[in-house]
Assembly symmetry: C3
Homo-oligomer: 440 residues x 3
């Protein structure tokens, strides 16, 4: 439960907000690289942290994230022509580089151009392509921090898949879904008349995700223990969150997630050798967000089958249209099927991503955290809020945000393991990752 | 004409309004029983008096009208699973009864459940099935009043038909249409080149309604006397409103409506033996309402033909889609046909319900009653406003609302009669109903 | 660049605004005459300067522009029946003339009608049909000024074509597009690999407009001189704005526009004998406007080919649906084609009107003029703003608005000419129009 004031701080990310300043301290993914695929390809309108921006790639392949407003008469550069080293306004031909420099002002006498060009510089955020995404640094400092060394961006392109999905609620409640691994025992659960049916029903409810990450035993453990025990450790770039469930005699099934500043989450299921998944929640405005979704395998290229599955909806990916809008969404109640909810799975909705979206969106455009009844399985959510609120208030007070200066503090992993029930969390971490905080 | 302040009181029915408190003193229909047809059927989202609620029927057939918000993390119980005695939240499995009791909290240690369950009680309004509708009592008292003994709910199910229709304006102007029986001489009038054509044209304009309740003479009397004389009597549960028109020599054609607290209206046409009709206006919010529409015959079951007529649009029922949205509505100007308006009926719109909706909606989302020019035929409207404003102000001052404690004060009828022109209203009432106020 | 206060004055035209008062000093086109084509034809809802009004034509062919609200109970007269000398409210039959007089009150005792009729007068603006449009005078004075003697309204009906188009931005930035003739060198420019291709590409980009008004030389001059020299002269009813570009040796290509109060603009291309075009920007509200578009030839009837071209989209007319909504509009990014923008024309959008709308709408619903960098080619825009702001402030101070009392001050022309480079603007005007200000 939060005070109204803290709920506002947590959820508001516009230009003059505390949380907005915290987000702006980090590099953020703002588009898929494929959206501006080639030199001089069409510019793309984006909205990030309530700011309307334009992404484009110039003739040399450099990427720009700029204010879309031409300083001459205020026309939108989206309609401009992306040509020979810059984007040229369609109204009177003023031209701008990816850095926001004014390169040409054909309506002015040549003599006055140099002086006027200085005044005509437009806001441009440092931008880079990294791991299949376009990233921008929307902070005000001259020198942006290093890009975070998240593993999906470090592996060869053949070893990863990246996409995004639209979500119709505030970023924070979506992110809370990522640190709350307890809900798997309900939201994503299959229903079955016998244990024999369970694995197959789970596969159908999660569109194959459960079979990629769990055996039939795991599904039963998830169903049978709705009260995982949480352990949370803070580290340089965020939190590692472990939750253990009773497994076969003398064993515990641990699912270990990572939350990395400001809004990256790694899912907790993968066992060694399996493909990892992550999500990054980037506010469009305070009532919707893009979830950048990615998968990677450090050991091998992704298979065609994996990629086809991600593209058509599966694992952490919803089935989407060509604008990355999930086909099951708020407007159609996620195609909930009440007969399936009676007989086959707990929600009547198909797909892990869709089930998450349904329940997170249902908390309201912006969840009201002033009325809640939190318990032991909500420890992850509580720690997430403390981390974010402390960091946001810290930035305002001049404290450097966690992890921002250390690219390598992002070199951590998340995943699952069945361990001896007597082992403590630190030992489990060492067994699974070779490091108590998951560093690699 | 009302002051701005009184217009606000009349039209605003949210939680902290005077009129809202008055409405909340009574049982209100909030859904069709068929919307939650069977035990454990899917829950249904409703909005009543600006409150978002959830209706569901539990495994034993009991009906619940509850706040849809799970007190754990604020997820919406609409996505919950209706199962074994309650609805279970899809996020983490907390479960609630139709009374709002928390029945299960699987994410908590069993020892802490009893104490937490107390805190996790959700708002639930007393709910009952009655006359084919689900009714809720949204007042704060422990003991709700008795259900109103309206005749349509007292007769056997075979003797009634119930439905509802969506209307895109404030409840009060729609209700005013029900007490204003003078408008029939215009809004619902046919046009004809000769009197011979009149009855057939009326039938077409009203989609058969006129032939069910009037002979050709009645249609002419309605056309020829646009200034009915009004008589209004207050009784325990509301108002009875008579309006007389000149009929054949020495006779008067009386049409007598009932208005019952807080927002039920009976139509004035039925002669003895004919089927009666009623409407109840329940605010969704201040700019739209559900009109619960019902028909009943105390003497016999409704015929298949009657029911088929009501279902496809006729009498007081519009043609609707399967979500009870009239096919002729604000968005399409009620399919007004200007050629028909020239030649066949006064509005160019087909259907009594549709004609009412068109003109009521046209008064604005919330009619501005600070600029009006009322006359003698508006006496019904004036008395309705006085009744409602006095009752709303009375409730705030501690006066019990009219009729609320007396179920039998709702045992009244409305209808039409051709009477000797010399008879006063009380005698006409006795002749038509055997009682001066229409009691039966 | 304007102060925030002046930008508000320039753009706000509701009932109690300075610019709104200025607009209300003039006759304004408010509908096409064809929208109320014949006596007793259906009434038409319009919104002008943020006021909701109703246009109708009575049995004698007289046109009314009235407040649509029946003073009885506030029903909308749009649903009324237009019959025998007035429009009759569909609710209770009150009837009103084109002058706003109440003609009948059938629900009242005849004795009280005369007194009540006085009170029941509704607001009606003087209205006239003129040049194919319905014009209204929305000022408060008893005696409206004369209608402006704009040439398109003076020529025989066979010599003109009139239409309108919907535009989704504030009126002023659309009007600024009309006085800014410099943008033709970019917004409407073709792209070509060789000069030989240029004229044909221009024709395609402008959907034939360029070939109607320019030879191949003109297209090249437009492309090659992006810095036209501006000359602006104030006259009794507005401004004449000349812009010259370098042409063949020793010559200048002049394009001369007229801006007439309060919001009429004549396009600058026509050479003697060619058909003229004009646009009048009338605010619907502050975020959208109707652009009344017209073409006329003082010397001859328009040809079928011309009219067919205007109807299907060409010259200053966009391709539209039957509600005058351009098919290329804000909602579909004007069907911008990025391949065409690379290869064939500067915007990738087809049509002069569509190109204008795209860039004007892109300035925002209401352009922010507090951040601009104006230069010499923006002199027309600057003079337009000065004229409008001075006139609006003048009206508030009691100064008569420019031109309002002189119908003949609107007898001016605009157009293009290739003149000797040594001639000054006044001499060029005399050569092209026989008068230094374009009077005829």
């Amino acid at each position: 439960m939060l005070s109204r004031a803290d709920n506002e701080i947590l959820t508001r990310t516009g230009p003059d907000t505390l949380m907005g300043k915290l987000f702006r301290s980090y590099w953020l993914p703002v588009a898929l690289a494929e959206e501006v695929a080639s030199p001089d390809s069409p510019p793309v309108r984006i909205k990030v942290l309530s700011e309307e921006l334009l992404v484009f790639r110039d003739s040399e392949g450099k990427v720009g994230v700029i204010e879309p407003r031409c300083p001459h008469r205020g026309a939108n550069l989206f309609f401009g022509r992306n040509e020979e080293g810059g984007i040229r306004c369609a109204f009177h031909g003023w031209k701008f580089s990816v850095m926001g420099e004014c390169l040409d002002m054909p309506t002015l006498e040549p003599a006055s151009v140099p002086r006027m060009c200085e005044k005509a510089r437009i806001k441009a955020y440092p931008a880079q392509e990294w791991g299949g995404y376009i990233w921008a640094y929307m902070g005000g400092e001259d020198f942006p921090p290093p890009l975070p060394h998240m593993e999906f961006a470090l592996v060869p392109a053949s070893h990863r898949h990246v996409s995004k999905k639209f979500q119709e609620c505030n970023w924070a409640q979506a992110a809370e879904g990522g640190v709350d691994t307890a809900h798997f025992s309900f939201l994503h659960q299959p229903l079955a008349e016998s244990d024999d049916q369970l694995a197959e029903r789970a596969a159908r409810a999660t569109r194959g995700y459960s079979t990629q990450t769990m055996g039939p035993d795991h599904v039963q453990w998830m169903r049978d223990d709705a009260r995982p025990r949480y352990e949370v450790r803070k580290h340089a770039s965020g939190l590692v969150l472990g939750a253990s469930r009773r497994a076969s005699a003398g064993h515990a099934y641990w699912r270990i997630a990572q939350y990395l500043m400001p809004s990256h989450g790694y899912t907790p299921s993968a066992t060694p050798g399996q493909t990892y998944h992550g999500q990054t929640w980037i506010p469009i405005d305070d009532e919707s967000c893009w979830v950048y979704v990615y998968s990677w395998n450090p050991l091998r290229p992704l298979t065609d089958e994996e990629i086809e599955g991600y593209r058509s909806g599966g694992a952490v990916y919803p089935a989407m249209d060509d604008q990355w809008m999930p086909l099951r969404n708020r407007s159609n109640d996620y195609l909930i099927d009440r007969r399936i909810q009676k007989l086959e799975n707990f929600t009547g909705i198909v797909g892990v991503s869709e089930q998450d979206a349904a329940i997170q969106d249902s908390q309201g455009r912006i969840a009201d955290r002033t009325r809640e009844l939190l318990g032991p399985t909500d420890i992850g959510v509580v720690q997430f809020r403390r981390l974010m609120l402390a960091a946001a208030k810290g930035v305002a007070a001049g404290t450097p945000p966690p992890g921002v200066e250390s690219a390598d503090s992002y070199r951590v992993r998340a995943g699952g393991i069945v361990a001896d029930a007597s082992l403590g969390f630190d030992d489990v971490m060492r067994e699974r990752f070779g490091h108590a905080l998951g560093e690699f």
